[in-house]
Amino acid sequence: MTENFLVRCNRDSVAAEVVDGEAIILNLETGAYYSLDQAGARIWQLLEHGLDTPAIAARVAEEYDAPAEAVASDVDALVADLLAEQLVIVDPAPVSEPSSMPSDTRTGAPRAYAPPALKKYTEMADMLALDPPLPGLKDLEWKRPTNE
């Protein structure tokens, strides 16, 4: 069953980029990082753009020419994984319709659809403890010392 709720990327605690059809997602809280390729990367891209899960499933099914029900079930499973890893959060106040759709940047013949698999890597967590940034600091306002 497809549950119609909106999740959004956890931007305070996550850094992510999609390059060459692969999404690399870094959880700044834990230092774990993740990869998603092919349909998974596309789903991440559409999540970043603010689409809800049924809209994502419909779009991916169309782009990959894959069975809609199977894709919908895969999208729900992936979103559950992303929620469990706190890479996305349930949006308490969904925004209105997204302005423009990110285009499907794949070129050449359509690739075969494969269910997305979120791969998790934790071996660099210690290395990421200090550099890059601590999460959630964007609203930190510093008061400059006045006595210098």
Partner: protein, 238 residues
């Protein structure tokens, strides 16, 4: 028997870092092993950083370069050093007084050791900083940054230094490559470095540094996919 050569060069890149530079240099000169020289690499400063570095009578040398970023400056210093050990320190940070002695003790016991690092205590410099003191990762953490490193110069040369293209996470990249190259590592439990977080260096923790970190992770994954063992756990299939 001849005593081992334990001379250390500490490279401090500085860009308009006059505010805290003296504390950084002093923490090196105050080490309880004295065979250490400081090499300040001025990275295009327009403040009093160079004057501060030049004010020390001995054991502190200063070289200048056009603005190239901390990785370029660290590599500049490493190339100019003539000691068997290299260490690094950032302009805002300072060392624990026995940092080098502790690490050299481990090198003496382990001839195979290439790199020693320790832990880091973040220090929030301004009064408002306490607001974020309970950040989950602002306590004592493993110090995979240049400031805790003590590395054999031969191992550093073998690795090829820091990636000159990186401005924010050259340390992360270096350690990721070092592990892939099987450099012999040791992480001491001791706090060897105090890392000052303040308004100016906090701003560098924004979008660009995150983007660089993702580049480094992507490169590390690519290297491993080319044949090195990869430690992944698949959250769906397990």
């Amino acid at each position: 028997m001849e005593a081992p050569d334990e001379r250390v060069t500490c490279v401090i890149p500085v860009h308009n870092g006059g505010r805290y530079l003296r504390q950084a240099i002093d923490s090196v000169l105050a080490q309880n092993m004295k065979d250490v020289v400081v090499l300040v690499i001025d990275d295009g400063s327009t403040d009093d950083s160079v004057a501060i570095a030049c004010s020390y009578p001995d054991r502190v040398h200063c070289l200048s370069q056009a603005r190239g970023g901390p990785a370029v400056a660290r590599n500049h210093g490493a190339r100019s050093a003539e000691t068997p050990y290299l260490a690094f320190l950032d302009q805002d940070d300072w060392w624990a007084p026995d940092k080098l002695a502790r690490q050299l003790g481990h090198f003496a016991r382990r001839p195979d050791l290439d790199v020693s690092i320790g832990h880091v205590q973040s220090v929030w410099a301004d009064e408002q900083g306490t607001r974020e003191a309970d950040q989950p990762r602002s306590g004592i953490v493993p110090g995979f940054i240049p400031g805790t490193m003590l590395v054999r110069a031969s191992a550093f040369a073998r690795m090829g230094g820091f990636d000159n293209r990186l401005w924010y996470v050259d340390g992360l990249d270096w350690f990721a490559r070092a592990l892939d190259h099987n450099l012999a590592f040791e992480i001491l439990p001791d706090v060897l470095l105090f890392h000052r977080v303040h308004a100016d260096n906090l701003s560098r923790r924004g979008g660009e540094s995150r983007s660089e970190a993702l580049q480094v992770l992507r490169a590390a994954l690519a290297r491993r996919r080319q044949g090195l063992p990869i430690a992944a756990d698949n959250t769906r299939d397990t």
